[in-house]
């Protein structure tokens, strides 16, 4: 590392301590912002000495979980890495992670950089980190007020992966037509992953589905089966574009509610019978992506399987908390596709549900809340005992529930998420379960309140 870069690394650490001492929050991205603005080549220069290079993980849903899975696998395999663990996934977050986690002689102790990056930041991240592996998990409609249109986003991603060298590997979800189309005609290696079973296939396409048309010719795609959203086994009847055969895939999946699933997974390096301790089909995709990354880095299938079975979710994605003899299950839902998966899991639970839907419209949630009308709340018909709508946009959420005709006997509005949790917990019997489904900043609010009362640890990491 150049002397100048080392000095910026030290300088960044000092800025970070000042920010923390001043009590201005965690200061997660501020040092990185300052250092990058004064030394634009900071990230590439710090990373240039890494023996194993960099891995970038992106996609609308699951990037934090997928990156956390890869990080666990690498740690178990004794590969020291830097990782932007806190979900700070813009370039300033990457720079901050480097400042916080690395010593001045970084290359001596660290072999690999693992970064979760925002979809819109991928081109910039590829330029600055020269990655050896890029994983794109899925592209769903998410915070369109920030990204503009999905097609435009996919086009920018495609242009940026064209720069990857023949030694690099691009890992793509075969089941997402927009993502898989990015893999055509590239210099780099391309690996696909997917789910090869229609056991949980949906009858019709969900309303949240985004990319139902061929990205080459615009014709409506035909589906052999749907997994969720626009993911599935698709084919264009006009130009013949179709789902590529995946290299890493789940041959069978048995979902076990909010606990996890059993999967049979096939890979070129061998097969795995795997217990995935994370719920829903979306986590099966996260695990498949993490397996593909780890295999590309040369890790043995047995070691990968061991780490996955021991995995604990990044906080808030799904968290189970004991409160006065009741169980509170918190499940983050930040866009229609993710929300529909949560609803699918909830609708499979026996007995009347007690639920809080907490909807915020801060910048990190997306200012526009109309996406909740693409979520199929109708599938909860007859399943709810009590529902409280909460958050800054509690009233919009209440309207959505009203128009979904769920037949919930109790529908309450309580914008304060802390009071909403208190009220719902009081109203259920001992040993009962309440579900809290918040958007991103509502989840942070809920967690802050629970940690003040000592029910959860305030920290992001264990």
């Amino acid at each position: 590392m150049k002397i100048r870069t080392k000095m910026w690394l030290m300088g960044g650490k000092i800025i970070g301590s000042i920010v923390r001492l001043a009590g201005a929050g965690g200061g997660t991205t501020f040092p990185g912002k300052v250092v990058r603005s004064l030394h634009p080549r900071f990230v590439p220069e710090v990373l240039s000495g890494l023996e194993l290079g960099c891995v970038l993980v992106t996609g609308t849903n699951g990037k934090t979980t997928t990156a956390a899975l890869v990080a666990d696998i690498l740690k178990t395999a004794n590969i020291p890495l830097v990782h932007n663990r806190t979900g700070a996934n813009l370039m300033s977050g990457i720079a901050s992670a480097l400042i916080k986690q690395s010593l001045v002689d970084l290359e001596k102790y660290t072999k690999l950089g693992l970064f979760e990056v925002d979809e819109a930041v991928l081109p910039e991240a590829i330029d600055e980190t020269d990655p050896r592996i890029v994983l794109i998990n899925n592209l769903f409609r998410d915070q369109l007020d920030r990204y503009g249109e999905l097609d435009t986003l996919a086009g920018k991603m495609k242009a940026s992966v064209e720069k990857l060298s023949p030694e690099s590997t691009l890992i793509l979800n075969a089941d997402d037509p927009l993502v898989s189309s990015i893999g055509a005609h590239l210099k780099c290696k391309v690996i696909y992953f997917g789910i090869n079973t229609d056991a949980y296939s949906l009858k019709g396409i969900e309303h949240a589905a985004d990319s139902k048309h061929c990205s080459l010719c615009g014709t409506r795609l035909e589906y052999g089966y749907h997994i969720f959203g626009h993911l599935g086994n698709y084919r264009c009847p006009k130009c013949g574009a179709e789902r590529p055969d995946p290299d890493v895939f789940a041959e069978s999946v048995r979902l076990k509610g909010f606990d996890g699933s059993n999967c049979s997974i096939r890979t070129p390096a061998g097969n795995m019978e795997l217990w995935i301790p994370l719920p829903g089909l979306y986590n099966v995709y996260n695990v498949l992506g993490a397996i593909a990354v780890s295999l590309t880095l040369g890790i043995e299938p047995e070691a990968i399987a061991d780490s996955i079975e021991q995995f604990k979710a990044a906080f808030g994605r799904v968290e189970k908390i004991q409160i006065d003899g009741r169980k509170l299950v918190m499940i983050l839902a930040k866009n229609p596709a993710g929300f529909n998966e949560v609803i699918r899991a909830l609708s499979n639970i026996e007995g009347g549900l007690n639920i809080i839907f907490a909807l915020n419209d801060n910048i990190a949630d997306g200012r526009d809340v109309s996406w909740i009308w693409d979520v199929d709340f109708e599938n909860l018909k007859g399943k709810i005992s009590r529902v409280i709508c909460s958050g800054i946009r509690a009233w919009d959420m209440a309207l959505r529930i009203k128009y979904a005709d769920t037949e919930a006997p109790f529908l309450w509005i309580e914008p304060h998420v802390g009071r909403a949790m208190e009220r719902l917990i009081e109203s259920v019997e001992k040993d009962g379960t309440v579900y809290v489904v918040p958007t991103y900043t509502a989840m942070l609010d809920a967690r802050r309140i629970l940690s003040k009362k000592g029910y959860v640890s305030p920290y992001w990491e264990e």
């Binding site: 435009t152 048309h213 109309s370």
Partner: protein, 245 residues
């Protein structure tokens, strides 16, 4: 009583939760004992005279908008204009609104023709207009606020005699210059306020239902509904718009 909603190009023009508007129309009819049928019309489908009472079209991405423009001009445009002249109503949003105008001129490439229900045209702009919007409108002589969310880069300019849907109080509206938002001609309403517009603007939803009934069942009144949650959501959306501007 029975109303038929024609959802135009639901799988091409469906960005930003537009489905909420169709749900709102259907439920508000159902709660009053009015039967509702929703017919989805796609590329190539034709419109038979008198078959539909309410037309609905949402927004789409650029590629889809071009496909829809061709199809509208070739197979449906003239019929839709005739139906509106004869008392059918329509709600068209974002891209749908632009295609109900005379044309859309993109930053590059050819002009995309519209069907000209509204006397207005749209030109691509650089900066996207994004955020909460509040407008002041007058529907059948009743003053009302309408609240929603806009996200568009097109600038729409109305002809001198064309009536806007309302006056922009917060947000950009048609073009960010003249304080107009949307357009209204007979029973046809065009607007940039997308997504769940009708659920929290019950006055606008009922305006469309009343217009549609008037053509088919003249003199028919509609029952008041319990709109407490609707108006709470409406009021809080206005408060939120003030805070985010």
């Amino acid at each position: 009583m029975r109303l038929v909603i024609c959802h135009l190009y639901p799988d091409l023009m469906n960005i930003y939760g537009d489905r909420g508007n169709v749900i709102a129309l259907a439920k508000r009819c159902a709660w009053r004992g009015i039967d509702v049928a929703i017919k989805n019309l796609g590329l190539g489908d034709r419109i038979s005279p008198g078959a539909y009472d309410i037309f609905f079209m949402g927004g789409g991405q650029d590629r889809e908008q071009i496909m829809v423009s061709h199809d509208l001009c070739e197979t449906k445009g003239e019929s839709i204009k005739r139906e509106i002249e004869e008392g059918a109503c329509a709600l068209v949003i974002c891209g749908g609104y632009q295609l109900f105008g005379k044309f859309y001129r993109p930053a590059e490439g050819k002009e995309i023709p519209g069907i000209g229900v509204f006397d207005g045209y749209t030109i691509a702009g650089k900066k996207r207009f994004i955020g909460n919007v509040v407008i002041e409108s007058c529907l059948e002589g009743r003053r009302t606020t309408i609240v929603g969310f806009e996200n568009h880069s097109g600038r729409t300019y109305l002809g001198k005699k064309e009536r806007p849907l309302g006056k922009t109080i917060l947000g950009y509206g048609n073009n960010g210059e003249d304080k107009t938002e949307g357009a209204i001609y007979l029973g046809a309403v065009g607007t940039y306020l997308h997504g769940s517009l009708l659920p929290k603007n019950p006055a606008l939803a009922d305006f469309l239902i009343r217009k549609a009934l008037k053509r088919k069942y003249p003199g028919q009144q509609i029952a008041e509904l319990d709109d407490e949650i609707e108006y709470l959501a409406h009021e809080h959306a206005i408060k939120r718009a003030k805070r985010t501007h």
